[in-house]
Every structure is written in C-alpha cells, then in structure tokens.
C-alpha cells in the first residue's frame, strides 16, 4: 500500500488552508483529495462579494478567495488530486479513493485531516407536506444551477429560511429577473448575517416573514402554490393563519449539516450538538491522527474562520506528526447555559495548547449578557457581551495557564449581568 504523510480529504476552503499550513510547518508529503474538477469547493459558486475581510483585509468573491489559497498551495507544491472521491476511511488512517485514472486506490496516511464540508438540509428534513413536484430546490443547488451551469430554475420564487445562502439567492435571483415573493423564517429572528439581511432583502423590498414557515406545497408536475403559516412560540402552526402564494419555485435555506459519513464509518465520535466530530484543542478527533476542520466540523458563518480554524487543525496535525499525541487524559469543554455548542470541546490539562480559541454559538438572541468560562467553581474568565445572535459565531480565548492543571471540565455559559 502506498504511504503518505498527510492526506487532506476535501480541497475547499478548509482543505486548502490546512494544506498550506502543513507545508509551512515543515510537513512535505501532503496530498489533497478533491472530488470536483477544480479546487475551491463551494466557494466556486459563491460569486458574490464579501469573502476575505478578515484574512486578506479586502472584499473578494468566492472564486477569487479560493484562487488566493490555490496559488499559495501551488507555490508550496501541494499535490491536489482532482476528480477524486474518497469512498472509505478507516480508524487506522487507510484512505480509499476512486478516480478515472488510477481506479480504486488505498493509501496509508500518518495523519488525515477531514475537510469534507457540509450539505444542505433537504425538504425531507423539515416537515413540508403536500406533493413532490419539480421546482423545490435547496438554495445552494439553485445557486449552482445559476452560477456554474448558467440556468435559472424559475421566475416566481419563495424562500424558506433566512440562512445566508437563502438571502444571497434572494438578491441573485432578483437581479437575474425573477420575482422573489418573500422569505419565511420559522424563528422570531433572522438566521442570516445582519449585513445580508440589509443588502439582500431590505434593499430589494423583499418581505421577511418572521415566525412563519411553509407548511404545504401544491402542484403535480411543477410547483404551483405554497401554503405559509404563522407559528407560535413553540414553533407550532397557528390555525387560521394560512396564506397562499402562487410560485413556481421554492428555495430551502433551512440549515447546513456537517457531512460525516466517512467519519461515522471510521468509528469517530460525533458531537450531537454540532453533528460533526468531537475534537480536542489540537483539532484531533477521537481517533488518533485523524483531524477535522471546516464546515465538516461545525458550520461556520464566514469562510475566513474556516481558513483560520483549518490552519489550527493543520498545526495540530503537524505537531502530532512530530511529537505524537498530547499527554494525559482530556477534559471536556461543555455547553453551559444558553450555549448550543463549543468547538473544540476537549483539552489536555497536563499538556495544554499555548493558546486555544473556543468557538461557540448561543441558543437565542440576547443583549447585555456576560460570558462566563469556569472549571467547576473556579471562574477562569468573564466577558461582557452587548449583543449575542445565534447566527454569529462567538469566540473565547483560553491561554495555557488557564488550562494547565485543571481537574474539572470547563463550562462556557451566558449569565445575566449583575446590576
């Protein structure tokens, strides 16, 4: 069996950043495996602006952002296998892939970085009843038809879910001549970034229906009509609130889910709160030498953070290749009050990282709260937070001295500010 020092599964924003960082950290033998004909992943269909403000201090389109990393990877002689799909991963890091040139190949890697991305929750993942006609797409699928293949999927469009891709597509389809009738959001607040609410809906007078959902669709061949209902505080439909819109297209932007089939089958432990693997402060999963990053780990709101965290995962993998696993047994970083998830969710008190940024999300929008990080009763840090939104990823930095010698799990929680 062929041997490779480090295999990165996925050549999108996470995989490319991880590859570049591995090379910069002195790991020479790096192989990126990408299923599409070009590296860049989903960025290739994101032709709108707004990428790279953190990483490059300028506004780039998705393909332009990807191009920067592709160029860096080329300069560092990263090997990228294109049109190649990984079909299997084992806990002892045998990667099986398939492509047209080599056939089905097994490779033994010393380290594997999962940078597999996420997929969009389909209609069947939420409860939209009715017929099953053509004309219902996930937002990213419609985006691909439009921006890669060059086809509009419809003329009269309704969008369910105020996630960022849905908002971006509301603007994009309007600019291309479609009529976007409205956007419904199940929650009483938007799930998209504030700037996308403004630039994609408000600027185009597209109505946003908060606390509403699409409950039923009609049409035998192609979508003809949708039923929208208001929902109560428990997200149950309110009888009598039905409204009907004649549309030929429904776009769903109702959540992204980390793609974890390979990890699952390799026996890697999953975190039910992120639906991605559990990782420690080096971004290593429950299986030694297998790391995870990007939207396959947890869904990010900005690509800049994907690149940044993938670089941290690659640093973790490089350290592992040099020194092996961290010493001791890990403790957990737990979701406390109002916190829906934390990544990473494990650390090594006997061998902590120099600096650990914990990324987390809150469950509901809140103003003027306090972030508290504690280990048992010991408060490590408190921080005032003026505004907290579920759609905006938050972070908290832990230093080596904060983690060293701790004997109890760390909890990240939000509390009322004592007045």
């Amino acid at each position: 069996m062929k041997k490779v020092q480090a295999i990165i599964i996925g050549g999108g924003s996470a995989g490319l950043s991880a590859a570049v960082t591995l090379k910069k950290n002195g790991i020479e033998d790096v192989l990126v495996i990408e299923k599409d004909e070009e590296p860049g992943g989903i960025l290739e269909q994101c032709i709108h602006n707004g990428f790279g403000l953190q990483t490059f201090q300028e506004q780039l389109s998705g393909p332009a952002y990807a191009e920067r990393f592709v160029r860096m990877a080329e300069e560092l002689n990263v090997r990228i296998l294109l049109n190649t799909t990984v079909t299997k991963l084992t806990a002892d890091r045998v990667v099986e892939y398939v492509n047209s040139e080599e056939g089905a190949v097994q490779v033994q890697a010393d380290a594997v970085i999962l940078a597999v991305g996420c997929y969009e929750r389909p209609r069947g993942g939420i409860n939209i009843t009715g017929t099953r006609p053509a004309g219902i797409y996930t937002a990213g699928q419609a985006q691909r038809y439009l921006n890669i293949d060059g086809y509009m999927v419809g003329k009269r469009v309704f969008i369910l879910g105020s996630g960022d891709i849905g908002l971006i597509m509301a603007r994009r389809m309007t600019l291309e001549g479609a009529k976007v009738i409205g956007v419904a959001e199940l929650m009483p607040y938007s799930n998209g970034l504030p700037r996308n609410m403004k630039q994609c809906l408000e600027d185009f007078d597209i109505p946003l229906y908060l606390s509403h959902t699409v409950s039923k669709v009609f049409g035998k061949d192609r979508l003809e009509k949708i039923e929208m209902v208001a929902v109560d505080e428990n997200r149950n439909p309110i009888a009598g609130s039905e409204q009907y819109f004649d549309v030929d297209t429904l776009l769903l932007s109702v959540g992204l889910i980390p793609e974890n089939h390979l990890a699952d089958h390799a026996g890697i432990r999953m975190d039910p709160s992120t639906k991605g693997p559990v990782v420690d402060d080096r971004y290593m999963t429950s299986e030694e030498g297998i790391f995870a990053c990007g939207n396959g780990l947890h869904v990010h709101d900005l690509v800049d953070y994907v690149s940044l965290q993938a670089a941290r995962a690659a640093e973790g993998a490089a350290a592992y290749l040099r020194n092996g696993s961290p010493k001791g047994t890990p403790l957990c970083i737990k979701n406390g009050n109002q916190v829906s998830y934390c990544v990473p969710s494990q650390f090594y008190p006997e061998d902590p990282a120099e600096k650990l940024t914990v990324y987390f999300r809150v469950r509901t929008p809140m103003d003027n709260q306090q972030l508290v990080i504690r280990s048992g009763d010991k408060v490590i840090r408190t921080l005032k937070k003026r505004k907290l939104l579920p759609s905006v990823m938050e972070e908290a930095v832990l230093l080596k001295k904060d983690m060293e010698g701790l004997t109890e799990d760390i909890t990240v929680e939000i509390t009322e500010v004592a007045s």
Binding site: N99, A104, L146, H261
Partner: protein
C-alpha cells in the same frame, strides 16, 4: 393487432409482461405516466411479506405465499437487490400474544418458517423495541427489495424480448370489436385480442370502459418517513400485531441499501392521484411507531412520501376474466401484499389467458438481464479493473449513495432506460441519499441531456411537464 395489451406498468403489469415475454405473443404495455413503477409500486413498504397475514381461503393468501416464494430467484435472474432481513411481529400484552399464535398457526398450514422470541431474546437483536413489547414472532425469511427496480428490470427484459412499452399513453376508451378490443389513446389506437387491466388505483375507470364493476375503488393513502442510511434504528422489519381495521400498522423497514422507512398510515381518500403527504398522516405515523419502537430518530428524516394503495370494496384480490367482457382480465384490488404476490398474480393471469390463447414459446427469449455494475458492492481490485476499461466508472456523481457516472449512463442506455432524473434515481440511486440530490442532481441533469441529446432545459424531474430548469441565464 396485439395478442395482449397490458394496461399499467406497475409491479403487476411489468411482472406479467416479463413472464409473458417468454412466448411469441405480440404484447404492448400502456402506461399513462412517464416511466414504469410510478404509482403504488413507487411508494410502499418494499417488503416481500411471506404470507402469514391474509385470511384462510383467500386468493390473497394463496398468491402471497406463491409469489413470495419466487422473489429470490426472480431477483437473482434480474440482478435486483434482495435482502433477507426478517420480520418481527411485536406483540404488546397477552391479547396480542394470542394473536401471534393465530399467525403462527396460519404459517404452519402454509409452510412458512418462523420462530418465537421472548422479549429479552428479541431485545438482544433489536435494542430499540419499546417497553410495551412482550413477545415477538419472527418470520425470518421476509425480505426487502426495491419494488421499482424489480419493475424496471422486468420491463427491461420484456422489452429485450420484443414487448412494446408505451409511456405517456393513457387509455381513453375501449371498444369491443369482432376480433377483440380497440383501445383509444392520445398516442394512437391499439387493437388487441386480450386486455389485462393492471391499472392500479385507476383500475375501476378502465374496468368501467367495458363493464360496470361490481366493486368500487376505495383508494387508501399511506405516508412514510425515510431516515438517513447511517441512522439504522432497526435491522429487521418491525411490525405491530396486524388488525382488521388498521391493516399491517406502522412499521419500520430497513431497505436494501440502508435507508429506513417509517410508516404508513392508512387513510381513505377520494382522489386516486393525490399522493401528497399531510400533517395529520405524518403525525399518525409519528405517534404510532412508538407502540413497538422507542427512540426512533425521526430528526434524521431525509424525505417524506405518500403512496396510494389500489384498495377496493372487495376484501380480496380480484384476478379474473370480467363477466360479460370476454378476454378482458382484471388484476385489481391488488393492495398489500400486492408486491409480494405479483409473480403469482402474473402466473394466474397467464393460466387464465392459456385457457383460450395459444402461447407458443419463443426459443430466442432470454429471461435474465446482464448484471448492472454496482461499484459500491465491489472490491477495490474489481473496481479498478472496470475503471481501466471504462473511466466513467471512476467518476463519482452521487457521493451519498456512491454512484458513478458510468452506472448512470448504463441506466440511461439500457432498454426501458431512465429518461428522467427520478428515473435515474429509481434505477441506480443518486438522490436517495442524505443530500436528496442537492449535490448530484445538477450533474445528473447534464448527463441526461448529453445522453438523450437534448438541452438541459428539456430534462424533466419525473412527468413530462416537470422541468427542472426554466431558462438560460442572460450573461
């Protein structure tokens, strides 16, 4: 002049066409939809029930047992997925346990193997059984298939043997002629000596074109959840104890490639074409699966669907020549276990035909089909060999179900091949996985357009008017 025209390309019509294609008869299958297996065959529990459920003395009981016995060898001949998973009938309490004994007695009389399991023995194999379950009757030879795959395979071989398949050809009227029947359709007239009415939920309309039916159609809808293949809550089909009122109840079915079906409900409805899901129906499924199973991860649902069963006021299958309409044969009221019974329904129709129709063997008929390439079932070495011959097998299109471009092209080029996105899905699987086509559908559209020599704008999802793309984007 045809010898036999079969109306309806569901599992009954296609199975019959396959079996009849052994003969030299001139046969046409008329299907009103844009593909085979579009009605009840597309949307059911996918189980080959072994035949313990139908009452003694019914045609259902006879044909179910005989049909189920043929499935494994049919699937072998046609290279269709067939997976023996076993069926747990889960009894809750003494009254239901007593009914298990009734089922076991029927099974004894019909030669169906079974075993009883105590609660603990059953739990060891199915940890998700609910706390109510006290005893299990395991019909361990029960299997699952993909019904639409079997129907398409039957049709493919029948077409290879000379049977004509006419899609988008609804039957508008039927007239008696001196030599037989004249069927009028928008696609032209069909003159035939015999007609087999295998029109599923529309069988009453077809029957009414030649005679007043003595039964009425009472279609019943069944709704289902499909769970992600990695969720795998059960290994066997889990049934509640059947009842006369509620039929087989809400089941959990592990399908051939690992998705799990949860359903169905069973509601009467007026419109035989309405296969939409409803909140009430799905709520019934959610509430009732809890009788036999706990912790079913419905949050890992990737799709919901509904099918309409061709039930009628007749409690039994009707497979007979219609009185007053010679050479017009009904295969109607083929509700559950219609899938399992289909081979025997076909045999019964053939024996009715044989009473008056000479069926000379066609020495050139080939009853098997070439095994389709299924890469995910192969070793890396086997895959590499194939990819070396045809690089399209190395290009993965559907990552969820691991389907290559080569397999999709095969599905399109085969006789009775896929012409639609759903047709590709039915035959080789892209779109059945957790992304439900989110990633692969655009690629499947491109492949269909290229193979069929049409624009992507003309590619349809399912029916003739179900276009996916609406216009080219002005750039």
């Amino acid at each position: 002049m045809y010898d036999v025209v079969i109306i309806g390309a569901g599992i009954t019509g296609t199975m019959l066409s396959w079996k009849l294609s052994r003969s030299r008869l001139k046969i046409a299958v008329l299907e009103k939809e844009n593909d085979v297996a579009e009605g009840a065959t597309m949307a059911n529990s996918a189980a080959i029930h072994v035949g313990y459920d139908p009452e003694d003395g019914t045609l259902k009981a006879e044909l179910n047992v005989k049909g189920a016995q043929q499935y494994e060898s049919i699937c072998e001949m046609l290279h269709c997925g067939y997976k023996t998973v076993g069926a747990f009938i889960a009894a809750c309490g003494a009254e239901e346990e007593a009914h298990l004994d009734v089922l076991a007695a029927r099974a004894d009389a019909r030669g169906i193997p079974y075993r009883f399991l105590s609660r603990d023995e059953a739990l060891a194999e199915e940890p998700s059984l609910s706390d109510n379950v006290t005893k299990v009757l395991d019909f361990y030879t029960t299997a699952v298939v993909y019904p639409w795959e079997v129907a398409a395979a039957c049709m493919e071989v029948a077409c290879t043997n000379g049977v004509e398949l006419h899609l988008n050809t609804p039957c508008q009227s039927i007239e008696k002629t001196p030599k037989g029947w004249l069927i009028r359709t928008p696609a032209g007239d069909f003159e035939t000596k015999y007609i087999v009415n295998a029109a599923g939920v529309h069988a009453a309309q077809i029957h009414a074109m030649v005679a007043e039916p003595e039964w009425q159609a009472t279609p019943r809808k069944g709704e289902y959840y499909v769970l992600d293949e990695d969720a795998k809550p059960v290994r066997h089909i889990i049934f509640p104890v059947p009842s006369k009122e509620k039929g087989k109840g809400v089941l959990a079915v592990p399908t051939v490639f690992g998705n799990t079906l949860i359903g169905p409900n069973s509601d009467f409805q007026e419109d035989p074409d309405d296969n939409g899901t409803s909140e009430a129906g799905l709520a019934y499924v959610r509430a009732n699966i809890g009788k036999t199973l706990k912790n079913i991860p419905l949050n890992r649902s990737i799709r919901t669907f509904a099918g309409v069963r061709p039930t009628t006021t007749s409690p039994d299958f009707i497979v007979e020549e219609v009185s007053g309409a010679p050479h017009f044969i009904d295969a109607v009221s083929i509700e559950s276990p219609g899938l399992a019974s289909a081979p025997a329904v076909a045999d019964r129709i053939i024996s009715i035909l044989a009473e008056t129709l000479d069926m000379p063997e066609n020495p050139d008929a080939v009853m098997t089909r070439k095994a389709p390439v299924i890469l995910k079932l192969m070793t890396p070495e086997e895959r590499s060999r194939l990819i070396a011959e045809n690089p399209a097998y190395g290009k993965m299109i559907c990552r969820c179900m691991q389907v290559s471009e080569g397999e999709i092209v095969d599905a399109i080029r085969r006789p009775c091949g896929a012409r639609t996105v759903k047709g590709v899905k039915k035959r080789v699987g892209p779109g059945f996985g957790r992304c439900q086509g989110g990633f692969c559908e655009p690629k499947v559209v491109q492949i269909l357009a290229r193979e069929l020599g049409i624009s992507p704008l003309e590619v349809v999802y399912d029916s003739e008017k179900s276009n996916i793309l609406q216009s080219e984007n002005r750039i």
